[in-house]
């Protein structure tokens, strides 16, 4: 790979080519990229901040955008950059607060990889910083309400012809499908996890019928949304978007592993669950109650335990020398214990 391909937008020629491509893509007379800056991030996937001037057309004016190139998928279930972009565009159409989708291209000739461009959004995303914000008490409840409402808008997108046709239509019970996906990971894992098998057997036996099938974010949690001065500015990281049971998203959001130590604030470490549900039920056609989320909280913790195991195996089996991956691989007992505690709560204390 040449230096130019490693940092393609450092080259004035490539910036001009991108600008020429953007013109017709945005039905503009002309597009000028006045600045391109590589943002901190991974080696495989690049994030560039672009300052852009658009002449003519619906987007005339100066803008700051973020261009993200495609990364080789690290988890088999994740979407590629273009599929992710299309999901974001669908969510945007449904009124969900996302970084506005601007354009995408599957053409590798331009930058060496497919890419997607979205509006630049300011704010903080790091979970730890959000739950430890000294002003959380003043904005946490309203933030949880807003996020609940945004989830409900997303869940109004349902599978029908022409809508995200590349996403697999769910066959059978979506809760059982998740059990199957987790078991498939365990089959390949480097170490057996009897407790996780126990939890998956429980999830299989107790799988509820879906109340609806809708577009599900798949990774909506504190850490994957952006907050600016206490206000939600965008929901991020859509690569696990799929058709599923809407309750998956709520269960994932409230799972203890995503409260970053703020355990009493069940809704993502920012507020009580009631505020999230209040916001959700104010918008959703299908109302959701706290008790029915217990199953999905177990599902979420089991899913995260499985993902953590797979992350550890990227080191153990895949030879990726990363201390962070190795330490993540040691986390499953935390989530497995959460699962068993919730099962105790559901079935009556003490473990039979």
């Amino acid at each position: 790979m040449s230096e130019n391909q490693k940092r393609p937008l450092d080259s004035g020629e490539t910036r001009a080519a991108l600008a020429r491509w953007l013109g017709p893509a945005l039905t503009a007379d002309a597009v000028t990229i006045t600045r391109a800056e590589l943002l901190a991030g991974g080696a495989v996937q690049q994030n560039w901040r672009l300052d852009v001037t658009v002449t003519g057309g619906p987007r005339a004016g100066t803008h700051t955008w973020v261009l993200r190139t495609d990364a080789a998928a690290t988890l088999s279930v994740s979407l590629d950059r273009i599929a992710e972009y299309k999901c974001i565009a669908e969510a945007h159409k449904a009124g969900v607060l996302v970084a506005e989708p601007i354009a995408c291209s599957e053409d590798r000739d331009l930058l060496g990889a497919p890419f997607a461009i979205q509006a630049f959004v300011s704010g903080v995303a790091q979970g730890r910083r959000i739950v430890r914000d000294p002003d959380l008490a003043s904005f946490g409840d309203a933030l949880a309400r807003t996020i609940g409402g945004e989830m409900a808008k997303l869940h109004a997108v349902v599978p029908k012809d022409g809508v995200l046709p590349f996403l697999p239509r769910p066959l059978g019970n979506p809760a059982r499908r998740i059990v199957g996906e987790c078991r498939a990971v365990l089959d390949k894992a480097s170490a057996p996890r009897p407790a996780l098998e126990y939890v998956l057997a429980w999830l299989d036996r107790n799988a509820p019928e879906p109340k609806a099938i809708a577009l599900v974010h798949g990774d909506l949690r504190t850490g994957n949304y952006m907050v600016d001065h206490g206000q939600l500015t965008a929901i991020l990281d859509w690569e696990f978007c799929h058709w599923g049971d809407p309750r998956e998203d709520l269960g994932w959001f409230i799972a203890r592993c995503w409260r970053f130590g703020n355990d009493q604030k069940v809704a993502g470490g920012i507020a009580k669950l009631a505020f999230l549900l209040e916001g959700y039920n104010a918008v959703a056609a299908q109302k959701i109650s706290a008790p029915e989320l217990q199953y999905f909280e177990v599902q979420a913790a089991a899913r995260w335990a499985t993902i953590a195991l797979a992350q550890g195996d990227r080191f153990v089996q895949g030879g990726e020398r990363s201390l962070e991956l190795a330490l993540t691989g040691l986390m499953p007992p935390e989530m497995e214990l959460d699962c068993l505690d919730i099962i105790d709560r559901i079935e009556g204390k003490g473990g039979r």
Binding site: R193, P194, L327
Partner: protein, 119 residues
């Protein structure tokens, strides 16, 4: 004076202490997370050497398998196949929890403590 053995455990303990107390504070902010992870890894390795998690695993396996030949892989398989259940083994969930807590005592004792405080 404590009676120490100059071996792996003591060395890891000293290394972790030196990293946290003398190295980490002088690091630039973007390297502190890595230093914390290294300290964490050293501590986990030290606790693992004490071998306490293994005792709980054997207790679990011996309780489920009378012949003493059980392995975690076998137990995982039998649970998936429905051969070992709450019905076939009354204390299963409780035993699994005990084993997880002993794993956590090695991997993340702070988390374990917080968890026990919640109960």
């Amino acid at each position: 004076m404590p009676n120490l053995t100059l071996g792996a455990e003591a060395l890891l303990d000293l290394a972790s202490e030196a990293l946290r107390n003398e190295i980490a504070p002088s690091l630039p902010a973007d390297k502190r997370y890595l230093a914390a992870m290294i300290g964490n890894a050293l501590d986990i390795a030290r606790r693992e050497m004490a071998g306490e998690a293994e005792a709980a695993t054997f207790a679990l396996l011996d309780a489920v398998y009378d012949d003493g030949d059980g392995t975690l892989a076998q137990l995982a398989k039998d649970i998936r196949a429905g051969k070992v259940t709450d019905q076939s083994y009354a204390d299963l969930r409780k035993r699994l929890k005990t084993q997880l807590m002993s794993e956590l005592a090695v991997r993340n004792p702070r988390h374990l403590k917080a968890m026990q405080a919640r109960r």
